[in-house]
């Protein structure tokens, strides 16, 4: 099992969800995040003083998947999130040692889906 973490542009979330649903990846967790990366920030001015903002609003998606789904999931995220512009974001893949469904106590692959 893998735990896939993706940072995407906020306005791409719906597209990504769409792409994942089509691939039957229907479970995920989403949070907001501020991201700093290649994408340059923007300039804010407040009451005469300026400031460079380089922490941009991003969406963080966390998806636990079983091995067979890893690539599908990654492809789906990319297809939904890619605009070709800097700031599209990143996908991180980490090992998932175990997964438990609280309601039933199921563990492992059965619990992921």
């Amino acid at each position: 099992m893998k735990l896939i973490i993706a940072y995407i542009q906020p306005h791409r979330l719906n597209a990504v969800k769409q792409a994942l649903f089509e691939k039957e990846v229907v479970k995920m967790s989403v949070t907001t995040a501020l991201g700093c990366g290649q994408q340059m920030g923007y300039h804010e001015t407040y009451r005469g003083a300026g400031i460079e903002v380089n922490l941009l609003k991003k969406i963080r998606i966390e998806i636990a998947v079983t091995e067979p789904y890893v690539q599908t999931t990654i492809d789906a995220i990319i297809s939904g999130a890619r605009t070709g512009k800097i700031g599209d974001g990143k996908i991180f893949v980490t090992e998932l040692t175990d997964c438990i469904r609280i309601r039933t106590g199921e563990t492992g692959d059965d619990a992921v889906g």
Binding site: P10, L13, E44, T45, K57
Partner: protein, 445 residues
């Protein structure tokens, strides 16, 4: 008859004690003018109502922009009205319906356009006591009308929110508030041709709200919908970011409406003003009730934004007739207005006309309904035909002017922000500033 004579003299004496420091006429003017001053203040605060309502019903990434627009439009409206608006709206046409005046003027009075000069200055030999039969002073007159003026542009602001370029909108406002609104206003309130024909619009269902509504319609058409509002065949609701702000806005608007309608009596006439208060209040309440019930029926769950719009609908609806209809008629007018708003909002969505705050349903549709309602519920005041004529005339003129203006701006300065800016939000795009610093907010829409 001696006692009588004596009493006459005694009275004379007592009265005389004050005769030198204040006369009845002066006190009368004070009583009237004070009410008009209060009305000015009430109409002023409506601009905060618009600002909060509009920002509450839109996304947090465009809040700064909306507040900025509302502040700017108010300032622009007041200054341009002082510069030329007032004298465009009240160019001194002769009251064509006043037989004697017409006789003297030797004209049937069918004025279309007039301008009494730049800036504001009391007329020759100005005497507050006689300026408006002791109802208000020149300055009160100007300011009350000036507060109205900015309203028309503010109505547009809500409908074109979240995608219009700041510069473009401000330029539009200058022309719309500075020239279009007052010019058209002169047709009726300036004793122009529609006044002569007996058109009745008490406080501006048409002159203010429909005129603004038509302007909004033109803007919505030229701008097109916000990104993501209409996808394929379906309507994707774009939710407002703060319903408390929206509620504050509606209550403040209702609050200010007592000055908007109550002040339009143009004196403190107790019976007239208090009657207007009652019709205005009950129409608003009726609008809320029908909006609540309809939205409960239609979408199974009662919609707060609809209940709030229902109040505004009732207020706009009764604005043309508040002075002439009965209490029951006012309630009916409000109920119909509430229904109009419930069906108006989805209607415009079906037409792919994206109006974030519902200004089209509230100000345009209910403004029209309210104007026609005069012909229905107070036919003795004005025939349905003449009311219809007014609606059409103002609609045609306002829509054409606004459409032309927006097109002109589109091909010159441009009126729509870039897609990128629309996505990141106009607050950062136009102002480099956020409305809620530090708050973690989903910007997925």
């Amino acid at each position: 008859m001696k006692p009588l004579l004596l009493s006459a003299i005694l009275l004379a004496l007592s009265a005389q004690a004050y005769a030198d420091d204040v006369t009845l006429a002066e006190v009368h003017l004070k009583a009237n003018n004070t009410w008009m001053l209060v009305s000015i203040i009430l109409v002023f605060i409506m601009h905060l109502g618009f600002a909060t309502l509009e920002s509450g019903l839109t996304r947090s990434k465009n809040t700064v922009n909306i507040l900025f627009k509302n502040t700017g439009v108010l300032a622009i409206g007041l200054l341009t009205y002082a510069l030329c608006g007032f004298n465009l709206m009240y160019p001194g046409f002769i009251d064509g319906r006043d037989a004697t005046a017409v006789a003297e003027a030797g004209t049937a009075g069918n004025e279309w356009f007039g301008f009494a000069g730049w800036g504001i200055e009391p007329p020759e030999g100005y005497d507050p006591l006689t300026y408006a039969d002791g109802n208000y002073t020149y300055w009160t007159d100007f300011l009350f009308q000036a507060m109205f003026a900015a309203t028309a542009a503010t109505i547009v602001s809500g409908a074109v929110a979240e995608r219009i370029k700041l510069s473009g909108f401000l330029l539009f406002s200058v022309v719309f508030v500075g020239f279009v609104y007052p010019w058209m206003g002169s047709w009726k309130w300036g004793f122009g041709w529609l006044h002569d024909r007996g058109f009745h619009d008490f406080a501006g269902s048409t002159l203010v709200h429909s005129v603004g509504g038509w302007g909004a319609l033109a803007g919505v058409i030229v701008l097109g919908p916000r990104i993501g509002k209409y996808i394929g065949g379906s309507v994707k609701p774009i939710m407002g970011h703060s319903l408390p702000l929206a509620a504050i806005g509606v209550f403040l608007l209702w609050f200010g409406w007592y000055g908007f309608n109550g002040g339009s009596v143009l004196s403190a006439d107790p019976e007239a003003v208090s009657k207007v208060f009652v019709t205005t209040t009950l129409s608003a309440a009726a609008g809320v009730m029908t909006a609540i019930l309809m939205s409960w029926l239609v979408s199974r769950k009662p919609d707060l934004t609809m209940a709030l719009n229902g109040a505004l609908a009732g207020l706009v609806g009764v604005t043309a007739s508040a002075d002439v209809v009965s209490v029951s008629s006012a309630i009916v007018i409000g109920m119909v207005s509430g229904v109009i708003v419930i069906f108006g909002v989805p209607l415009f969505d079906r037409l792919r006309l994206d109006d974030p705050v519902g200004a089209l349903s509230v100000h345009l549709l209910c403004g029209i309904w309210g104007t026609l309602a005069v012909g229905i519920f107070a036919p003795d005041q004005a025939s349905f035909a003449i009311q219809l004529l007014g609606v059409v005339a103002y609609g045609a003129a306002s829509f054409t002017c606004a459409l032309g203006l927006f097109f002109l701006l589109k091909i010159t300065v441009g009126i729509r922000v870039s897609e990128e800016e629309e996505l990141i939000g106009l607050d950062i795009g136009e102002h480099g500033m956020e409305a809620y610093n530090g708050f973690q907010i989903f910007l997925t829409q």
